[in-house]
């Protein structure tokens, strides 16, 4: 009990600096773990979201914009393509599934996406993972003239929609209450959460969106993009050659995973800056452990000398000071988990609202062990300098002046 008692009493005696130092470690630890988790989980989540489709066909323009618009329901559409283009690629022998989508309307800020019922019946989000409905609902009718809608779980939750409700869509991708369409849509079902951007969307029949009142009748058969599953990956390169290099009218965004990875590589500087900040905070925190214990050394030198006079070995004193620094690290790391969960909950909420991608706050990550352990090690290292000072405490001179 000797060492724990010495550490406990020392921490109690310097409670304020203990709390402040542990706080800075908690911040560093929480920040590092959050940055790492957001980075790895969001990359994995974005990659798995895109994995349902191999490619996207759209108007000529940026591949990234096309993928973001068609799969993540972000950004504006780069333009339309003719229905014949959709029919052409659908019939292509290399294409397994082709699902057209059309965008251009919203319901109080949540996108309406026109598509075919095959999206729900034929597509698997991941092997064996079909799109399902919450109990009591059904997918909209195959009859393209029927004005029915299926809401994504997140959009339904935010808009308070349930099966049986009706709504009037608004024109454009941005909500403007003055731009309401006359059509009335009935909600037939709410999708079970997919943890993908599909959750943030209200799905209506393709024809309904194409012919919405106020839309240009000349574009009444156009689609915004075609989501494509290929029979074999090699076919993608052939279609890439055909559309992107030999043609100049459409864009074939393939492979989706690589395009998403390019997005992350474009914003990787931001990750690196955040990581750098977190590492700096970690270094400052370790430095503050050193400074805080070192500064209190003069005050505690007498105590250390008394312990030595009572028979404590030098290495016991050295170990006590290093252990104290490590315990501050442990306290900081434990509080770091709180910082981590708070930060990640906030960030995950923002990412879900903005992209529909869901980060799992409670999922175990190796960084949740490595980071706290590293921080504790760094703190113990920070304790070595004051421990050495304690080690060298001259007992007789510190205890009392020589008579």
């Amino acid at each position: 009990m000797t060492l724990p008692l010495i550490i406990y009493r020392s921490l109690r005696q310097h409670a304020l600096s203990t709390v402040v130092t542990a706080g800075s470690i908690a911040l560093a630890c929480g920040l590092l773990m959050s940055v790492w988790t957001v980075k790895t989980q969001s990359q994995a989540a974005f990659a798995s979201t895109g994995s349902a489709f191999d490619a996207v066909l759209g108007a000529r323009g940026s591949k990234l914009q096309l993928v973001l618009n068609a799969i993540f329901h972000l950004e504006a559409s780069p333009g339309n393509l003719a229905y014949s283009d959709y029919e052409f690629i659908k019939r292509h022998p290399a294409v397994k599934t082709a699902i057209p989508i059309a965008v251009g309307d919203n319901l109080r800020g949540y996108r309406l996406v026109g598509t075919l019922p095959e999206l729900f019946t034929d597509v698997e989000l991941a092997p064996g993972k079909k799109i399902t409905l919450q109990p009591g609902g059904r997918f909209f009718s195959a009859d393209p003239t029927v004005k029915e809608a299926v809401a994504g779980s997140f959009a339904a939750e935010k808009l308070g929609l349930k099966a049986g409700d009706t709504f009037h869509p608004f024109h454009g991708l941005t909500y403007d209450e003055k731009n309401q369409h006359a059509e009335t849509y009935a909600v037939t079902g709410i999708l079970a959460p997919t943890n993908t951007p599909m959750d943030r969307v209200i799905w209506i029949p393709l024809r309904g969106l194409q012919t919405m009142s106020g839309h240009d009748p000349r574009a009444a058969t156009d689609v915004s993009a075609v989501l494509i599953q290929l029979r074999a990956p090699t076919a993608g390169f052939m279609l890439d050659l055909m559309y992107n290099k030999q043609g100049n009218r459409l864009t074939f965004a393939y492979p989706v995973g690589t395009i998403i990875a390019e997005l992350f590589s474009k914003i990787s500087w931001f990750d690196r800056v955040l990581e750098l900040v977190a590492y700096l905070v970690a270094l400052v925190a370790a430095g503050s452990v050193l400074a805080s214990i070192y500064n209190s050394m003069s005050a505690r030198q007498r105590d250390l000398a008394i312990l030595r006079a009572l028979g404590a070995k030098r290495r016991t004193i050295f170990g006590a000071v290093v252990s104290e620094a490590a315990v501050i690290g442990v306290l900081g790391a434990l509080a770091g988990y709180v910082v981590y969960f708070v930060l990640l909950t906030v960030v995950a909420g923002v990412i879900r609202t903005q992209t529909g991608v869901v980060l799992e706050v409670w999922r175990w990550q190796p960084v949740l062990a490595f980071c706290p352990l590293g921080m504790i090690g760094l703190c113990a290292l920070g304790g070595v300098v004051p421990a050495f000072k304690a080690y060298r405490t001259p007992v007789a001179e510190t205890l009392a002046p020589v008579s």
């Binding site: 009990m1 000797t2 008692l5 010495i6 009493r9 020392s10 109690r12 005696q13 007498r302 105590d303 008394i306 312990l307 030595r308 006079a309 009572l310 028979g311 404590a312 070995k313 030098r314 290495r315 016991t316 007992v395 007789a396 205890l399 009392a400 020589v402 008579s403």
Partner: protein, 225 residues
């Protein structure tokens, strides 16, 4: 129990000269023996006790405690010998202010051979009349009570040799007598040798065996003219 031979210690003065503080040719204590050492302030008696306790390293000579030669040991071996064989009562008590009364005594014991025996520490403090103050901090105690904690801490490990440096210097007459009585009583029970240094004649008068440090310490003698 204690044998000192040719023990010397000098310090460097602010002017850079080496000044000899302790030069004791011979000094011995048998088990159970209780000796009072008379010494004025500045006579080097605290340094002498520090040398015996191994808190200070000697320039030369030998200190042997219960057969172990303190002056020949490494620092960590001296720490162990001190924890096992010695009880040291400081003039200024040297209690750990951030620790409770009980923790002060338990911690003192924890470095010794018996380890942290809370029950024995409590019993020792109870005997010192501090059974109701176990969870108090030193600053919450009177000077006399603090001194009794220091005594309990020094004696709790049943040391073979007790060194007491002006143990009653900060106490009034009544408390001084009580504290001294307790120290001597516990030493007698444990058959521990007691070496007490003081300049207080009333304290010295209570001892059958008294030595004058000025006589045994050659360093403080006036050089022959």
């Amino acid at each position: 129990m204690l044998a000192v031979a040719d023990l010397r210690k000098s310090f460097r003065s602010p002017e850079g000269e080496r000044v000899e503080i302790v030069n004791v040719a011979t000094f011995a204590l048998a088990a159970g023996e209780q000796v009072a050492l008379r010494g004025e302030s500045g006579s080097g008696k605290t340094t002498f006790l520090h040398l015996i306790a191994g808190i200070l390293a000697a320039d030369g000579g030998r200190v042997t405690i219960d057969g172990a030669e303190m002056t020949a040991l490494s620092e960590s071996q001296r720490d162990r010998l001190r924890a096992e064989k010695l009880g040291y009562i400081f003039q200024t008590f040297n209690l750990l202010q951030g620790y409770t009364v009980l923790e002060n005594v338990v911690l003192g014991m924890s470095f010794g051979p018996r380890g942290a025996d809370r029950a024995h520490a409590q019993a020792m403090l109870g005997r010192m009349g501090l059974g109701h103050r176990l969870d108090h901090f030193p600053r919450q105690l009177s000077t006399g009570q603090q001194q009794r904690v220091a005594v309990a801490r020094a004696l709790a490990n049943r040391p073979k040799l007790v060194l007491a440096d002006e143990p009653t210097g900060n106490l009034d007459r009544r408390h001084a007598r009580e504290a001294l009585g307790l120290i001597r009583e516990v030493c007698r029970e444990n058959n521990a040798a007691l070496l007490l240094v003081s300049h207080d004649e009333e304290v010295l008068a209570q001892f059958e065996q008294r030595r004058d440090f000025a006589v045994i310490n050659e360093a403080m003698k006036e050089p022959a003219r």
